[in-house]
Amino acid sequence: MTTDVEYVGRLHGLDPERIHWEPRQYGGDGEKSLIALTPNLQSADLSIIASKVRLNARNSVKTWPVDRVLTAIDQTVARLLDRSHPVRKKMEHLLPIVTGYDEEMVRIGLTGYLKTFRKPQLQRFITEDFPNPGILDKFQPLVKGGFGRAFGPDLLAHVWAGNVPGLPLWTLIAGLLVKAASVGKVATAEPFFAGWFHDVLAETDPELAKTIALVWWQGGNTELEAGLFREADVALAYGGDTAIAALAAQAPASTRFLAHGHKISFGLIGREALDPSRASSTARKAAYDVVRYDQQGCYSPHVFFVEKGGAISPETFGTYIAQSLASYEEKFPRRPLSLAEASSLVEWRMAEETRLGGKVVEPCNGNWTVSIQLQDRALRPSGLNRTIRIVAVDDLEETPILSKPYKTLIQTAAISATPERLFSLASMLGEVGVTRVTALGDMTSPEAGWHHDGRFNLLDLVRITEIEARAETAAEDLASYAD
């Protein structure tokens, strides 16, 4: 038995010898475990780190064309996609130990996720927010007249949460694209991924890697949180409402604070998708969305609203999903649950079972649960960890009303219906807060350049400096060639 040891944090500007590193164990006591060495940081350390990465960015990425950044990320991601690369091997080996997810699911998930960060996808990512990406490099003519240039923050702070592998990549890359220096606080649940990305970036473009520092502390340390936010122009935070509110309280008014709270997502399955030739594949795709990372993502489904009146009834469709979940369980077993998770799942299941018109289908080992609800139509959360609610509705058009009370809590809706209905439903759902409509089976893999929670990933980070047309005219008067 060997236990891997990994450092958490990339502390530019600090002498690692001077840091006190504390061990934290991941994985069980059995064959597979991993020791994380976490830095014991003080608020003053954060200032040193922040100054260092800010300086590094000023001397490097701030002066570069954005295309160089794209190339560096592309080459980094190419290495991470290469299954023989040592860091990729490490990810495949260690992430299942850290997060508990099945190895095969992690491997497939990594590849699917990373390939959305190749150069063409990154170009799309930028163009979504900046139709003329040159605005990140130089003043560009504006449609209204005059010129404009986008400046990224001098320092972007990130506070990541949760154990969905790779989550930090979204905001880390967004920071690089707007040429910001970054200090990211990694999540206790999965503190390694960001560091590994940093290390491979250091292979492909060492100067760029020096603009990213990674730190860690036990969540809720208000002194360090305040210390980090004081240094940042813009702060991005992930977490539940309580955690976000606590973090927001630490950000000074001068720091732009952007939050991604926990969300709930769902799917709509129309009667047209419920004929005998389509229902099985519809169920398989729906089950796949449930299985991916055991529903831990904000885009993961909690409920499928299933329309009555198709050849296959909502109840039967529920059993189809159950079958698909059973076969996925064979292929990608659910990660082991903590006692608290298992116990709250039991409570959820009991509540579902006792609802009028409710029925619960699950295997003896309890590794997944389908709750079929023929009467209760409310949008309620699943018990997570491969538990899904199948809610029968007369018409899909009822579902926007059902989700309306939760406007700020909902995110993705998958729709399986005709093109006409897709657009009419999407517009109704958009009104009640849905920010992403996708296909069944794709809920957990947003497109490159998606507007996370309906916001602009890059535009929200920058400020635009404009040269008004009048300034140009006035300058003309002072030109050497002026009459």
Binding site: K263, I264, E341, S343
Partner: protein
């Protein structure tokens, strides 16, 4: 069997100190059959799991009902309206819904309490001067703990035994006077109550600079933990403080573990060492299980506690708690509550959704 027969058999069983595992098994299976027949929500629960009196062959196969079900289902074999007592949980979780246990008669509950308390707290002594740090049943008619403590006073309290908590809080003056009196006259004293009330008393004694040296034979009984109603103390700190404040050694500070969803209590043999080992009498058995499957875990593995309490004959005998624990020789050790899991990622967990949706 009808109710009268069940009650009479149980009263005999509780008295039968020579009962062995096979007797327990037989009694458990016959009560299971009784509950399956008369308690319809429980029958539905069993059928959904393929369990019937025909398929359940051993007490450990009786399906454990999660305690959350006590909040949504009317689990009872008799009509709730004719119950002698209805005990309810405090309703601090799940949107204020309270779990209910109906008792058509308290005869079994009282017999269970009496025999067990006599042995485990009284040390088979007949009387003690008893002080109670909890409101009396008139103030809290649906509290099983209020009833339990009242029984302690009625059955085992000598003259001058009293409650010291009223609607306006703890009556420190009367309490301290009563303790002083016992101290001066060399009368053994039993002080019983909610753990958090003890913390309030400790704080007040500290404020007044008071200490007691209760006479030999005195004992303390705390129960229920701190529940956010007082400072949270480490167990060692708590029992050290009790020993120091009342002059009762930690070995004579007993912790009772009970639940509204049971008719029998568990005790430890003092808290000289924490965490202590808890155990119950011969009519209750505890398994440490995987909550998802209900199957027993090997000794030494932490799981969730499932109790089979024959005295809870009118509701269900077998409950799945939200308490983590581990089986050891002579009983089990408690490892605290397991509920309230948070989502690991950026999705939403049920509790969080309820809070956020309410704030929306």
């Amino acid at each position: 069997m009808d109710e009268a027969e069940v009650v009479s058999k149980l009263l005999t069983f509780i008295e039968n100190k020579n009962a062995v595992e096979a007797d327990f098994d037989q009694m458990a299976l016959s009560i299971f059959a009784y509950q399956f027949e008369h308690n319809l929500p429980f029958k539905k629960f069993c059928l959904a799991r393929g369990k019937t009196p025909k398929t359940v062959r051993h007490w450990a196969d009786i399906p454990a009902v999660p305690i959350s079900a006590f909040k949504t289902l009317d689990l009872t074999c008799s009509s709730p309206t004719s119950a002698e007592a209805t005990f309810m949980t405090s309703g601090t979780t799940q949107g204020g819904k309270r779990g209910k246990s109906y008792h058509p008669t308290l005869a079994v509950y009282n017999a269970s309490m009496r025999q067990n308390f006599l042995e485990r707290f009284m040390g088979n002594r007949e009387k003690l001067k008893i002080g109670i740090l909890f409101p009396p049943p008139v103030a809290m008619p649906n509290s099983s703990l209020a009833h339990y403590l009242e029984l302690a006073k009625q059955y085992f309290g000598s003259e001058g035994s009293s409650h010291f908590v009223r609607s306006n809080g703890i009556d420190y003056e009367r309490l301290f006077h009563s303790l002083e009196d016992a101290e001066e006259n060399g009368v053994s004293y039993g002080l019983l109550g909610a753990s958090f009330s003890f913390v309030h008393v400790l704080d007040e004694m500290e404020r007044q600079g008071r200490r007691f040296q209760l006479p030999p034979g005195s004992r303390l009984l705390d129960t229920g933990g701190f529940k956010g109603q007082s400072r949270e103390l480490e167990l060692d700190t708590f029992y050290d403080a009790l020993q120091n404040a009342f002059g009762v050694s930690r070995a004579n500070c007993i912790n009772m573990y009970g639940m509204t969803e049971l008719s029998t209590q568990f005790y430890d043999n003092g808290n000289a060492v924490c965490p202590s080992v808890k155990s119950g009498p011969h009519w209750i058995k505890t398994r440490v299980v995987d909550p998802l499957t209900g199957s027993s875990l090997p000794k030494g593995t932490t799981g969730v506690l499932a109790h089979t309490d024959l005295a809870h004959f009118n509701i269900v005998t077998t409950i799945l708690t939200e308490d983590a624990g581990v089986e050891v020789d002579e009983g089990f050790m408690l490892h605290g509550r397991v509920s309230g899991a948070e989502a690991q990622g950026c999705s939403m967990a049920v509790d969080e959704f309820l809070i956020s949706a309410a704030a929306n």
